[in-house]
Symmetry: C7
Subunit: 98 residues, 7 copies
């Protein structure tokens, strides 16, 4: 995938979801439960952070390249150069994979 | 389209949605999923920003001429000189296309 | 219509909706979509602005005489001297027509 | 009606709704629409104003003797000495009749 | 009724609702409408006031001995020494009877 | 019951609900109404208080040993050494029994 | 279980739920009621705390190694190296077991 020409607004990030197979390598399996279905993916673009009442933007806790776990039903799906991506808010991200 | 004679209030913007065909050129395809349908368009007018508790207006992150991706179901549809436009809040905009 | 003897409270305004025919003159047509139906009208009275936590009132962005576009389903309909008017909050106004 | 022995709390007011007939005199007719039904009445008692976070009470924009327009379905109906009254919050009042 | 051994928390009060008959004496009749049914009663205990963000407690506008009008469906019913009482928040009280 | 080895978080408390019989002794009977069912119990553990925006924790109004009245449907039921307990937030407590 | 390679965001924690059998040892039994089902588990990872308006992060009240009680239906289930874990917000934790 060529360099992404998308800049998310506020505290949004663009994530490239991983295939179910690739998750086995990292040791984390995300079961297909009925309760909630978190997914794993890599961050490919981040926004400038949420504008706070004080007028400054809150720094994001995640960066481009991070692998993260997020709720499957959050965000919006888009497709860039044939690649399926997801635009999420940082609050939809549950954890970073170290 | 002649110069737009509309001034949105607060953090609203006026967007001219692109046709589905034109999106192929920019390399971004927005699939027609059941979950949510983001759209792509060009900003033709912006408001002065949202009035914050401090009494100042928050500066918008987007400007006239920007191409943006936004949720299909947000905002209100209007028609100016035969052109279909959309009035959105900035928070309905997901990302800017660079 | 004689001078309006109504003073809206807070950030409310009184709007005289335009007939569908008159909107053609200004070049803006508001289509009758199922999603949302914005309307066009002229402001005939404005309130003092919303009382903020700081104790001052936020200045309104619209004034008597402005032509505005607003959501059809917001506000309350009243009738003064046989004229149908609408009392709206400023937040129900989408844009000013310049 | 003798002097009212009711003191509303916070930003509440007591209103004596006018009969439909009396509204014709003032030039304002409130149509019986299905969307919302504002009513007209005279304020007979006011509260001390809403206690704000700063610890002071916000001054009311209406006073005893004012004629106001308010949403029909807001507030609570009570009866004092055979007179039907309504206890409303100031935010339920749409406009003052000058 | 002996001295009440209950101390409400925050901005709650304990009210002894009056019987429908006793309300005639004070001149206020609370009709049994379908819309909402306010009730009249005497305050028998008050809380220390609501803890505000500033760390101080907001002073209550009502005191033990006050007769008040309140919404019938708010609060919780309890019984002390065979007497039916109601625990309400101050915000459920519409007005004080002078 | 031995010393309780539970420390509630924030403004939560652990309450040991009293049996219906024991409430007769204190003079307070909590009727089984359909509207809401408050219960009586003794506090056996308290949290450190709710963390406020200022960074300090709000002091609780109740302490271990207090007898309190609380809404029956709030909180979570747990069982420690065969004793049924309830974990509540302080805001679910209506009043303290003196 | 090897060292966990997950870093939760904000005020989230990762908890390893205990089996129903192990809870008997600590003396706390969590009954299977229909109202709500709290669970017991050990914290295996914690986030940096919630970012507050002041710009600092609120310190968590729990730490890695703590045994906690939490609502069964909160959070998201994931699986790491064959171990079922749960990602919760600190506010979903009811109490710490001392």
């Amino acid at each position: 995938m060529a360099k992404l020409n998308l800049r998310p607004l506020d505290d949004r990030v663009v994530v490239k979801p991983e295939d179910a197979e690739s998750t086995t390598a990292g040791g984390i399996v995300l079961p297909d439960s009925a309760q909630e279905k978190p997914q794993r993916g890599k961050i490919v673009a981040v926004g400038p952070g949420k504008l706070m009442d004080s007028g400054v933007r809150g720094e994001l806790s995640v960066a481009v390249g991070d692998t993260v776990i997020f709720g499957k039903y959050g965000g919006s799906n888009i497709e860039v150069d044939g690649v399926e991506l997801k635009i999420l808010r940082e609050s939809d991200i549950l954890a970073k994979v170290l």
